[in-house]
Each structure stands twice: as structure tokens, then as C-alpha cells.
């Protein structure tokens, strides 16, 4: 069973992946986790499959996503981390936040001992959750365009909107986000955080309609990654109302990228 080889951060990420399966059970959750839902999208049933490898067996070998009361360790970790997000603005990405989250679920604060003390899993869980929300948003938008309910956006507009939507998810946690960024850059987190970043960027390009099968595939993703990362950093320093400066920066960078592309084509 592949799962046994996963390190704790990756297990928590697996837990995020399982979110949709247990979304029905989660809806009975106390308000602690629903206060995180400051965004419109909820985990939906028609979300495309997130894990490539089918249902994850729980430690007891049961499916874990049926209507049984028993849940797997993954799902439990996931619930704790989701509940902990509410306490991040106050406590930062720390074991304290996780402990508080566990308390709201009626668990002992010792439950925080399941996780690394540096808050890595909490951050990775959050990033994974944001990426899932972004995918859902983009998927819904694509459906609306297919049904003729919305206009297909030009590429630069699409990229700008997608990056803005994703970065806006950081706003409730913006005070503590620089701390999170530095933790994500720790060597033991780099594989997971890089993975999450690259699949998010790939998702955006996919929904933007990229069909390149040559080296452009790499160039486009590299450029968008650069745009995303620099805009994120600008956002950390931005004190303008509703982050206007950031969105303007984003618009300029995307325009630059389009110009580069056109120039390259002309040459």
C-alpha cells in the first residue's frame, strides 16, 4: 500500500484529496470549519477526480468514505487542519493553531502531536485546498462558456483573473503568509510545495486552453510561475486598498509576457 510510505506532510495532502469524498459527512461539521468557507465554492460532486489512483484504503482497510461513522486517520487529520485554519490569523501557522482546531472538534490538544511542529502540514493543506477551489472555479467557468452563458476570455484576461482569484484566497491569512512562504521553502517541504505549485500552474494553463505539445509547454508554465510568484511577493508588501497595486502589477507582468510571446513569434 503506497500510503504507508508517505511522510506526514504528504499524508495530510492525501487527506485534502479525500475531502470531496467525505464532503457529505463534513457538512455535518461544527461551524468551526465552515467559517473557513469565505469563498463561494464548496466541494462539489462533479469535481473531476483528484487522485489518480482510485479510492484510498483506510488503515483499517475499509473504504472510509461510506456512511459509516468510522473515519480514517487521513480524514481526521484533514478535519483538524481545516478547523485549525480559523486560528491561523491569531496564532500563525503553528502547532497552537492546530491544537485550537482540534479543540473545536472536541478532541484533545494532544492531537496536534500528529503533525510536525513547524506547521508544514497545515500550510500544505491550505495550499492544496486553495488549489482545489481554484480548479473548481475554473471548471465552472469553462462549463459556463461551453453552455454559452459566458464569453470566452482572451488569454491575458484569463490568466490575470485566474491568478487574482487564487491570490485573493490568501487575503484572510495575509499577515501570516510570509511566515508560510518561508516554511514552504524548507528543504523537506520543497518536493510537496513545488508539486502543488506546478500542478496549479498547469491547471490554469489547461483551462486557458493551452494545447502545446512542444517546448512551449515548458516556456509558458515557467513564465506563468514567475508571474505568480512575483505577484505573490508584491502582494505581501502591498498596503493599497483591496490590493490595487498588486493587480496592476499583475496586469503589467501578464502584458509583458504576451509582448514577449509576440516578439518571439515575429522573430
Amino acid at each position: 500500500v503506497v500510503r504507508c510510505q508517505l511522510s506526514p506532510p504528504q499524508r495530510a495532502l492525501q487527506a485534502s484529496a479525500v475531502l470531496r469524498r467525505v464532503s457529505d459527512e463534513q457538512k455535518k461539521e461544527p461551524s468551526a470549519s465552515s467559517s473557513q468557507q469565505q469563498f463561494d465554492s464548496h466541494p462539489t460532486d462533479q469535481q473531476p477526480e483528484q487522485e489518480p489512483q482510485g479510492p484510498i484504503p483506510s488503515y483499517t482497510g475499509q473504504g472510509g468514505q461510506e456512511s459509516e461513522d468510522y473515519e480514517s486517520e487521513e480524514q481526521l487529520q484533514h478535519r483538524i487542519l481545516t478547523a485549525a485554519l480559523e486560528f491561523v490569523p491569531e496564532h500563525g501557522w503553528t502547532a497552537e493553531a492546530i491544537a485550537e482546531g482540534a479543540k473545536t472538534l472536541g478532541l484533545s490538544v494532544a492531537a496536534a502531536g500528529m503533525f510536525h511542529s513547524d506547521g508544514s502540514e497545515l500550510i500544505l493543506h491550505f495550499v492544496s485546498q486553495c488549489n482545489t477551489k481554484l480548479s473548481e472555479l475554473l471548471e465552472q467557468e469553462q462549463k459556463r462558456v461551453q453552455l454559452g452563458e459566458a464569453e470566452k476570455k482572451p488569454t491575458d484576461q484569463f490568466l490575470r483573473d485566474a491568478v487574482e482569484a487564487r491570490l485573493r484566497m490568501l487575503i484572510p491569512y495575509i499577515e501570516k503568509w510570509p511566515q508560510a512562504l518561508s516554511i514552504l521553502l524548507l528543504p523537506h517541504n520543497i518536493p510537496s510545495s513545488l508539486n502543488l505549485l506546478t500542478s496549479m500552474i498547469d491547471d490554469i494553463w489547461h483551462y486557458a486552453g493551452d494545447q502545446s505539445t512542444d517546448f512551449n509547454w515548458y516556456t509558458r508554465r515557467a513564465v506563468l510561475t514567475g508571474i505568480y510568484n512575483t505577484t505573490e511577493l508584491v502582494m505581501m508588501q502591498d498596503s493599497s486598498p483591496d490590493f490595487e497595486e498588486t493587480w496592476r502589477f499583475l496586469e503589467n507582468r501578464v502584458a509583458d509576457a504576451m509582448n514577449m510571446d509576440n516578439t518571439a513569434n515575429q522573430v
Binding site: V2, Q5, L6, Q10, L13, Q14, A17, Q47, P48, E49, Q50, P52, Q53, G54, S128, N131, T132, L134, S135, E139, S192, N195, L196, S199, M200, D202, D203, H206, Q211, T213, D214, F215, W217, Y218
Partner: protein
């Protein structure tokens, strides 16, 4: 274990396996295209021109199909594409400079490698789940048959009479093995 936000409507597909299969096949067809392009550059106006052009056209169709599959399964292309671009052309042109038989020898070597490779992929996919991968299996089987046909055409056109045939063939097939190994992974 790869973590992804979403992989489209690809329920239950063994992503790592399919990724490799499509990536390496795409690279292979891309390389084959370049090889024939190189051969045509040298022998285009010779008597072998039409037959090489015909085989090249079939490879173009193969590449087109894998381009589609690559987008459908959201597979990333190998980062070595620019390298195969040049290497393929140089191989094709280089062997063509040995004459018509040299070009045919190259064709025989490459097509044999490719059909063996397709055969092992067919085995892999059959072991995985013949039903789930039915369409892909059909494509690969068809292409394998096409490549075998190219191989036979090469033999018919005196490939074995090429200068240093066995050395040439071994060297080219070694190169193909390396290309397959690398393209699957990077």
C-alpha cells in the same frame, strides 16, 4: 506519490503509467518525423524519394495522433524535444549520405526498435486493464503494424546491403534504447 489539484475527467487512469507511455511515444514519433525529414533532405530527389516521403507521411499522422492524446490525457512532453529535433534530423541525413541503402538500414533499425517498444507497451497496458485502455491499445497496435511495415519496406530496399550494416544497426538501436529510457523519465 504525485499530488495534483485536478487532472481533468481522467477517472481511474493510472496516471504515472499513461504519462510515460504517451510521453515516450510522442517523442518517438517526433524523432521519427525528423529522421525522415533528414533522409528526404538528402535523398528527396533520388529514386528512393517517393517511398521515403510515403513513410514520412504516415509518421506525420502518427505524430498528429499523439499530439491529440497528449492534450487529452494532459501529459507533459519530454523536455528533450529540442534535442531529438536535431538528433533525429542528423541521424536521418547522416545515414542518407551513406546512400539509399544506408537510409534504408537506418529505417530498419529504428522501426525494429519502435515496434519492439510498442509491443512491450501493449503488454504493459494489457496487464493494467485492457478495457480501460482500449482506445489507446488500438492506436498503439495500429501504429506498431505501420512501423513493422516500414521495417519490411526497408528490408525490401536492400537495407542489409548497406555499408557496415550490422554495426550501423546496433549503434542506432542502442541510441533508440537510450532515447526511450530518457524520454520516459524527463
Amino acid at each position: 506519490l504525485r499530488l495534483c489539484s485536478t487532472r481533468g475527467a481522467l477517472d481511474g487512469v493510472n496516471k504515472p503509467v499513461i504519462d510515460r507511455v504517451i510521453r515516450v511515444d510522442h517523442a518517438g514519433e517526433f524523432g521519427a518525423n525528423r529522421i525522415y525529414a533528414g533522409q528526404m533532405a538528402v535523398l528527396g530527389r533520388s529514386t528512393a524519394g517517393p517511398i521515403i516521403q510515403q513513410m514520412w507521411n504516415q509518421e506525420k499522422d502518427h505524430l498528429k495522433k499523439f499530439n491529440e492524446l497528449m492534450v487529452a490525457y494532459r501529459v507533459r512532453p519530454t523536455v528533450l524535444l529540442p534535442f531529438w529535433n536535431v538528433a533525429g534530423f542528423v541521424l536521418g541525413a547522416g545515414t542518407a549520405l551513406l546512400g539509399k541503402k544506408g537510409a534504408m538500414a537506418c529505417t530498419v533499425a529504428v522501426e525494429e526498435s519502435i515496434s519492439d517498444h510498442y509491443n512491450s507497451q501493449i503488454r504493459t497496458l494489457m496487464q493494467e486493464d485492457p478495457e480501460k485502455y482500449k482506445e489507446l491499445l488500438q492506436v498503439i497496435k495500429q501504429f506498431r503494424d505501420d512501423e513493422r511495415e516500414h521495417h519490411d519496406i526497408g528490408l525490401e530496399h536492400d537495407a542489409e546491403a548497406a555499408p557496415a550494416y550490422s554495426i550501423l544497426k546496433t549503434a542506432i538501436q542502442l541510441g533508440c534504447k537510450a532515447a526511450i529510457f530518457l524520454s520516459e523519465r524527463i
